[in-house]
């Protein structure tokens, strides 16, 4: 009876050895295989999974094609609006310009995002008009627009809505549009959304937290 128990104990020891090895291996690889905890964000909403989108075809303010390929290889912040908008759009573009300047001043030199203003009013906002308007805020910012069909195709995929509203006093129409800023990651996937109102300190802080998390998860 006693001997039998001792034998059972010995066979348990033999099982412990591979268990320890597996545990050691798991412990060793744990930081790589387990995704890092999501970053703490003040304002931005991170998509549970970055979302791939279908290609789109717009024209930037230099007259060059702006498509999905041009979002790859760097972070991109996209804001949708129109130049006849006197309040929300210039305010947001100024906020984005200030965000770039804040990031410029960060000692760790975070990767600067490409900032793109997409006009959803292509009937009035030609690439030429955008070339005059957008760089006023920061010469690194890019304006783009395109055919209504292409704009809707992109906007719908990133959760942006817009619609012409009634005409103003002088016959000028207004355009209601989502006030959010959307963030694409260097894989060209929709990664996060910043809801309005926007402020440069929050944008800069959240962007850096998202960038660090992205780096951590692919180490």
């Amino acid at each position: 009876m006693h001997g039998h128990r001792r034998q059972a104990g010995r066979s348990e020891i033999w099982w412990i050895i591979p268990g320890v090895v597996i545990a050691a291996l798991a412990w060793h690889f744990y930081p790589v295989s387990e995704p890092a905890a999501p970053p703490t964000l003040q304002k931005a909403t991170l998509l549970p999974q970055p979302r791939a989108i279908a290609d789109f075809h717009l024209v930037d303010h230099h007259g060059r094609t702006l498509n999905l390929a041009r979002l790859r290889g760097h972070w991109s912040l996209l804001f949708f609006g129109y130049t006849h908008c006197p309040d929300v759009c210039p305010t947001t573009l100024q906020t984005l310009a200030t965000t770039l300047k804040r990031l410029d001043a960060v000692p760790t030199k975070p990767e600067l995002p490409q900032v793109i203003f997409i006009s959803v009013d292509p009937d009035r906002d030609t690439p030429e008009r955008l070339a005059a308007y957008v760089p006023y805020f920061d010469t690194r910012m890019l304006g783009a627009t395109g055919k209504h069909q292409e704009l809707e195709h992109l906007a719908r995929q990133v959760g942006i809505v817009y619609a012409r509203s009634r005409a103003g006093k002088d016959g000028n129409y207004l355009v209601d549009h989502s006030a959010a800023i959307v963030l694409f990651d260097p894989d060209g996937r929709l990664h996060a959304v910043f809801g309005a109102p926007h402020d440069p300190a929050t944008l800069a802080a959240d962007l850096q937290a998202i960038q660090r998390h992205y780096q951590d998860t692919r180490r």
Binding site: T83, P86, D87, F137, S165, A179, P197
Partner: protein
Amino acid sequence: MRLHTRGLLAAVLLLITRAVDAAGLHVDGAWVREAPPGAAMLAAYLVVHNDGDRPRTLVSVDSPRFDFVMLHRSRVVDGVAHMEHVEQITIAPAGRVALQPGGYHLMMPAPEPPPRVGERIPLRLHFQDGETLQVEAPVRRAGDAP
């Protein structure tokens, strides 16, 4: 002589009334957003203070520099920015209403030449009771310190 006296009395009375009204209402922090090149519409901002004991209502604004000035309001509803014309803005007694980016603002068509930083633009505010207030709004780049 009697006519002069009466005229003087009327002028004094008018001045007193004006002074009382002006004491009950004042504007500060006025500025016009510098036009980005190619911008067709501009915005101006200010804060109206009602120091009196009755509500005051701003009904219109004009300026020699603009064809028209509209009272406007930006609102974000369910994440969508809307801009709407408002007929009037009422300021409660001992209250203030701020016309500021993302909220109430004045909207004007960009004149030629467009306003540039350094220019001061006269704005005249008209209230429902007939009161007017004249202010000078400096042109600023948004994001500049006031």
